[in-house]
Amino acid sequence: MGSTPTHPDLLDWLADTFLQDDWSLKRLHRRIVMSETFRQNNRPNDKAIAFDADARLLWRFPPRRMEAEAIRDSILQTSGKLNLTSGGRGFSLFKQRGGLSGYEPIETFDESGWRRMIYTHKIRMQSVDIFGSFDCPDAGQMRPKRTQSITPMQALNLFNSTFMTRQAQFFTERIQNMPENTTASQTRNAFLIALSRPPTANEQIAMEELAKEQGLMQLCRILMNTSEFLYIP
């Protein structure tokens, strides 16, 4: 099934050490994640990307877009609204819970709808609002492996939806409630929260200007639209 392995010797060696380690998955995982290969950065280089764009030969850590659920959770985490209540009855993304058709998406959620997306009630055949376009399956069929497509609908959803606009507003308020209140420090804080890094000098200048002229919310809105926000790493 599938194609021939790119690194057959490596696989043999891993299998071998796995046996020697008395079938310890923990040791196997440790061996993999502590390897230099695994710890490579994700930066492309011209020669390698021309030869093997998908990094099948493991010359870099290939960037991966987060799945739909992780994107929604990350947005809520960033806006400060993520409700980490675990277990129990799931929440609904639609105005009705049963029935054969006519599912209308909920656009405005309260705290109960800000839980992790793994707790949503699944409707077979009905793609979910906003995040369905990020290849979130409708659960009509088994989907052991998801596609990762890139579509204009994703852009419309992340830029214009009510959910995103509200979360961008909450994110803005979160920053405004922090002790530092200059636009410069707010810009910096927005980057730290959304991207876990400070802005570069160029970014600081451009984004501070955006925040000053168009409001901090626009910065919050676009940060959650960046590839850096949506991709791992």
Binding site: M125, G140, K145, I150, S161, L210
Partner: protein
């Protein structure tokens, strides 16, 4: 090992390589085995044309760019009219003199037939008069006189069958080839195989009926296990694309400045990740989104059509549902004119006791008089308009429904029960015969008799008209090479022009 840009079926690549065999990278969009090389066990009736698409490349930044078919196509675009709820063949296109003669008598050999909703009563003649239409003299009923007027342009398939007798699954079969939910729709397969010539609109648009969604809802235009890029976008004259416009609280200037700033951040990222195709693809997708924002309202301006065109479709009707459906038909033409590859046009909504769709169990006469009026002139107008613009030469119009209806009335009612054993669909336009009939049902319209057809045959034929060999259009999913036609399907060569 793959190179950049990545061919879908590079010779070195295993045919069975998984859809996204590697995590991330170009493979996120590329479908490695979508158009695999011709196998030895080809369809005996397959087209003699040699494949010109041994290798297919989906550029990650342009999933919708046009891609070459397997061989020269007759049809470039498709409009697929789907009558939800199962329109009765014996009251519309399938004329049965014996049914009139045996009106009120039991169906010979099936006197006590129990079908979907229960026991059946006696044979009941068509409730509308049939008349010869056009030069071909094709007998079509007064329920749909305008479509009747186009008979000389239509290729009728009178012997369709469906493996399910239930609306949802049967509708899935016609639209996706499978009874279950979760399989890619015909439009998604075609979108994936061919892309689109339009650069400003989604490649595959599903136009919902003004009365509501069809029974299986979005599964009818689902992408299934194909990348989400290829699923249908629902859009109609009464319902716009969701989140098409900027949020109400954000001014145009503010929005445009925000986009500029976003582009700046993405470019910064691209500097660090030189050559990364996913970043390029994301940038392109936002640009396409911006163009869609601009062009969708433009293409939606059906009210700008001249009066005589609006009248042709019946968009001037006092019946608001008919006017809305007529507007949807005009929209379908405008979309095809703009190069949208596949337009699904729904007539009729979900199960509602026959109130909102063709599911007339209890009183077919009164319900169909309403539905027929909504369907007839707009669809005929669409055919006429496509024809006068020369678009029918490159556009294939499909008229389908999930199954037919019984020649009997249900016991104790004035309606007809589901009949998946034989029913009518039709094709018109690019690459199909005009004024032609293929396949028959028996003398009462109960069961398909000659040249019995399945949805798979219909799908194989449609793909063929688009220059695609249905057995080669496949994608590896969950351990199986999946195709629209499952493991079935034969091109109906008799109907090809």
């Amino acid at each position: 090992m793959t190179k950049n840009p990545q061919p879908l079926t590079a010779p070195s690549m295993n045919r069975r390589r998984v859809l996204s065999g590697v995590s991330g990278g170009l493979a996120s969009i590329a479908l490695h085995s979508l158009l695999s090389k011709s196998s030895a066990a080809d369809d005996r009736n397959a087209s003699p044309e040699k494949s010109t698409a041994g290798r297919l490349t989906i550029a990650p930044a342009k999933p919708y760019e046009p891609r070459a078919p397997h061989f020269a196509a007759k049809a470039k675009n498709v409009i697929f009219v789907f009558c939800s709820g199962a329109i009765s063949h014996v009251d519309t296109f399938d004329f049965k003199p014996q049914l009139i003669k045996h009106d009120g008598k039991p169906l010979p050999g099936n006197e006590k037939l129990v079908s979907f909703q229960g026991p059946n009563g006696n044979l009941t003649k068509p409730l509308w008069k049939f008349r010869p239409r056009g030069e071909s003299g094709k007998m079509i009923s007064d329920l749909i006189p305008h479509i009747g007027g186009m008979a000389d342009d239509i290729c009728f398939l009178h012997s369709l069958t469906n493996k399910s007798n239930t609306h949802g699954p049967a509708g899935n079969v016609i639209n996706t080839g499978f009874t279950f939910d979760g399989f890619p729709s015909m439009g998604a397969w075609i979108n994936c195989a061919l892309g689109t010539e339009n650069r400003n609109l989604p490649a595959f648009i599903a136009i919902e009926d003004p009365r509501g969604m069809p029974q299986s809802g979005p599964n009818n235009w689902a992408g299934g296990f194909l990348p989400a890029a290829f699923q249908g976008t629902p859009l109609s004259t009464t319902q716009l694309i969701r989140y098409l416009n900027r949020p109400s609280g954000i001014s145009a200037e503010r929005d445009s400045e925000a986009r500029k700033a976003w582009r700046f951040l993405e470019k910064q990222r691209q500097q660090i990740f030189k050559g990364d195709q996913q970043l390029a693809a994301r940038m392109a997708s936002y640009e396409l989104a911006a163009r869609i924002q601009l062009h969708v309202p433009e293409v939606m301006q059906v009210a700008d059509e001249p009066e005589y065109i609006r009248k042709l479709y019946g968009a001037d009707s006092d019946n608001s549902t008919k006017a809305a459906f007529a507007n949807n038909c005009i929209l379908a033409r405008r979309l095809v004119e703009s190069g949208v590859r596949f337009v699904q046009l729904f007539n009729g909504a979900y199960a509602s006791g026959g109130r909102l769709n063709w599911d007339a169990h209890s009183n077919i006469k009164s319900q169909y008089d309403i539905h027929g009026d909504i369907l007839d002139q707009p669809v005929a107008g669409l055919l006429q308009d496509l024809k006068q613009r020369g678009l029918l030469d490159s556009t294939l119009v499909i008229f389908a429904t999930e199954f037919g209806r019984m020649p009997m009335f249900q016991a104790g009612t004035f309606g007809r029960d589901h009949n998946p054993l034989g029913f009518t669909c039709w094709l018109a336009g690019a690459g199909v015969k005009k004024g032609f009939n293929h396949g028959t049902t028996d003398e009462f319209g109960f069961r398909a008799q000659e040249n019995v057809l399945t949805a798979h045959d219909l799908h194989a034929t449609i793909l063929h008209l688009l220059g695609l060999r249905h057995k080669e259009l496949n994608v590896y999913h969950n351990g199986i090479q999946r195709r629209l036609t499952d493991v079935h399907g034969k091109v109906i060569h008799q109907v090809l022009a």
